[in-house]
């Protein structure tokens, strides 16, 4: 009985992986063929107003780097060695024409590298839309909110000027509904993984989530639904693994082999911050009222604590501890991209918080194209050993 389900699951994961790592962006190209004249707008991590882009009849496309799928030549010509890897592969993709299917790129403010990448893009692709989206660090709806709303309004104008449809009340409603729904399904995926991590290996959940970068929300939601149904149907046995939360990988994505390495070294990943776009804002965008204000204000009130967002109250790291507790994690693995200032500067404070909470933790660095995990395997293995050999003791 489970045989066909297992096969279907394998097939689905394979399809998701193909979508997730397709550096040709064929799904986007195909979408554009089906929607003549419509725009596709790329955005780099972490968050972008996907509902706004969709309401303009455009396809929001998550550009999260080329991983280990592209050879870097031109990217290295633009970046010296002490910069993280993400901008290199994005530039490489751009200069190799892989991103030609995108009519524009958004660079949400999360760090200096991304911010400067917006300028690099303007210099390299003078004819494409390239926009830096400044996110507020003031959280008063009348101060930061007003500014943010103006930013979003400007974005609508920029898109419309490039030929996008001006959003209508109906298109707003549809886009917001679809993205709220997608958010729910992504959350459901994570909830299931928290509860039964043996059912949802992170190396699978990750590609299923990542496929969402190149699909419209409805299609991705369908994929998620299928996946959830299948993993619930396929029998998988729990292992004697340590439950961990992986933190710090919010922008440059870890290579899939790294996730597999961690799992093989005896860890169940029950919480992570990979691919945050659909879960950055932890609440639904309301359907009532001015949609721009709705997006802005939901963001202001419910953006998740994050290295790119000023920590208003409390102590840095408290939220991580809470997340780990909620996930029933026995430890935290800090996995930051090499040379990522936001992640690496947050880390000591977060580690201190874990220390105060008595939560075991360790850290390592990676880059999206690392291919050698010997050291990480040793570290993670030792970490998992320590948890397993002495848990409860």
């Amino acid at each position: 009985m489970s045989q066909p389900a297992a096969a279907a699951l394998a097939q689905l994961v394979e399809r998701a992986e193909a979508l997730a790592y397709d550096v040709e962006y064929s799904a986007v190209r195909a979408w554009k063929e089906r929607h003549p004249g419509a725009l596709a707008i790329g955005f780099v991590p972490v968050w972008a107003p996907r509902e706004l882009i969709a309401a303009c009849g455009a396809l929001p496309v998550g550009v999260v780097g080329g991983g280990d799928k592209v050879e870097i030549i031109k990217g290295d010509a633009c970046y010296q060695s002490y910069v993280c890897h993400l901008p290199r592969s994005v530039v490489e993709l751009g200069l190799n024409g892989r991103l030609d299917c995108l009519d524009g790129m958004l660079f949400p403010s999360i760090c200096d590298v991304i911010r400067n990448l917006s300028g690099v893009w303007k210099l390299l692709f003078p004819n494409k839309l390239s926009h830096y989206l400044d996110l507020p660090q003031d959280f008063d709806p009348e101060i930061g909110g007003d500014f943010f709303r103006a930013e979003l309004a400007q974005l609508v104008e920029l898109l419309v000027a490039r030929g996008a449809r001006r959003p209508t009340p109906a298109s707003w409603r549809q886009a917001i509904t679809e993205h709220n729904e997608n958010r729910h399904l992504v959350e459901e995926l994570h909830a299931l993984r928290r509860e039964q991590p043996w059912r949802v290996p992170t190396s699978e959940a990750y590609v299923v989530a990542r496929a969402g970068c190149v699909l419209p929300a409805t299609e991705h939601s369908a994929l998620l639904r299928d996946y959830l149904a299948l993993v619930r149907a396929v029998p998988r046995a729990p292992l004697d693994n340590a439950r961990v939360v992986v933190a710090g990988a919010f922008c440059e994505q870890p290579p899939l082999d790294l996730l597999k390495t961690l799992e093989r070294a005896g860890c169940y990943i029950v919480g992570d911050d990979f691919l945050l776009a659909p879960r950055f804002v932890r609440a639904d965008v309301p359907l009532e009222g001015d949609p721009l204000a709705a997006i802005a204000n939901t963001w202001l009130a419910h953006a998740q604590p994050h290295a790119s967002v000023w920590t208003r109250a409390g102590t840095k790291g408290d939220d991580l501890v809470a997340l780990a507790r909620k996930a029933g994690a026995e430890g935290v693995l800090f996995a930051a991209p090499s040379f990522c200032d936001p992640a690496l500067l947050d880390q000591p404070m977060q580690e201190a918080a874990c220390g105060r909470a008595g939560l075991p933790h360790m850290h390592f660095k990676y880059s999206e194209n690392s291919g050698q995990f010997q050291g990480i395997r040793e570290q993670a293995g030792t970490f998992a050993d320590a948890i397993k050999l002495w848990s409860g003791a």
Partner: protein, 285 residues
């Protein structure tokens, strides 16, 4: 309890370490045989297999089938006749306690990586810190320099300790440092001063690593570089300069810590499994 013979094989990037141990499960732990073989770029698995079968066991007068559990660590998980594998720091922690029961932190300095970690009295690894994907200041680096200077690794320590005017070594690259050393030689700097300078810069890194891992009290240096008295002395000096109270020590068998720890964990595991009725056999074939 019945005495048990177990083996530990630690396959590293520059050397293979093997031990044979006897434990009685009640606290008596004996090191029966030891073997360290520098790889010199030979195939590690081949060297390990040969050392195990042709050297260590015959010397100890033990037949392969008398060994209850062959535990590997490091890159030894590819050894075919292993019974089980333990991760590096898990093994080093256990080995460190065997060698120095008071140790509460370990810094394992091997060919490519250095790892520092704190442990408790049961050898549980608490906090770990590791050098990154750049081989600057690694053992391999020191080896290169030594070769170039025409000094054997065994001589390095004494030479370095003889130096009074350590020459500051600024280079951060393991490969390019060779050039710096050429420069120093050209400038007529004495070999001992060069070595001392290199030791100082390496020591700084390792002490920093230890402190990052929250080390306090007794520290055992394990891994190949533990034998480098010059480096250990430099680490002590550095710790002192930092005003830290770390008691940094080494042990003549420090290089074997991983193998010892693996063998001890193997014995532990074997007993646990035996209690559960699981029979594992180290198959010599």
């Amino acid at each position: 309890m019945e005495p048990l013979l177990t083996g530990g094989i630690d396959v590293g990037s520059s050397a293979v370490k093997l031990v044979l141990m006897r434990t009685d499960g009640a606290g008596r732990e004996e090191l029966l045989g030891r073997r360290v073989e520098r790889l010199r770029r030979r195939d590690p698995l081949e060297v390990a297999t040969r050392c195990w079968h042709d050297e260590l066991l015959p010397e100890a007068g033990v037949r392969p089938d008398e060994v209850a559990y062959v535990a590997t660590t490091g890159e030894g998980d590819r050894i075919e006749f292993r019974t089980g594998h333990f991760y590096g720091m898990t093994a080093h922690a256990r080995g460190a306690l065997f060698l120095r029961p008071g140790a509460r932190a370990v810094v394992d300095i091997g060919g490519l990586h250095a790892r520092a970690f704190t442990i408790d009295e049961r050898a549980k690894v608490l906090v770990q810190a590791m050098t990154s994907q750049c081989a600057s200041g690694s053992g391999q680096f020191l080896e290169n320099i030594a070769r170039f200077l025409g000094v054997t690794l065994e001589e390095i320590g004494a030479l370095s300790r003889r130096s009074e005017k350590p020459e500051k070594c600024s280079s951060i690259c393991a490969v390019l440092a060779e050039t710096d050393v050429i420069n120093m030689v050209s400038r007529g700097i004495k070999v001992e001063d060069i070595l001392h300078g290199i030791h100082d810069s390496m020591a700084g890194r390792y002490v920093r690593l230890l402190l990052t891992a929250g080390a306090r009290g007794e520290v055992l240096v394990t891994g190949g570089l533990a034998a480098d008295t010059g480096l250990v002395a430099a680490m002590r000096d550095d710790a002192q300069r930092q005003g830290s109270t770390l008691e940094i020590a080494s042990h003549p068998d420090s290089v074997l810590a991983g193998a010892i720890g693996a063998a001890l964990w193997g014995a532990h595991r074997q007993r646990v499994l035996a209690k559960r009725g699981v029979v594992l056999r180290a198959d010599p074939a």
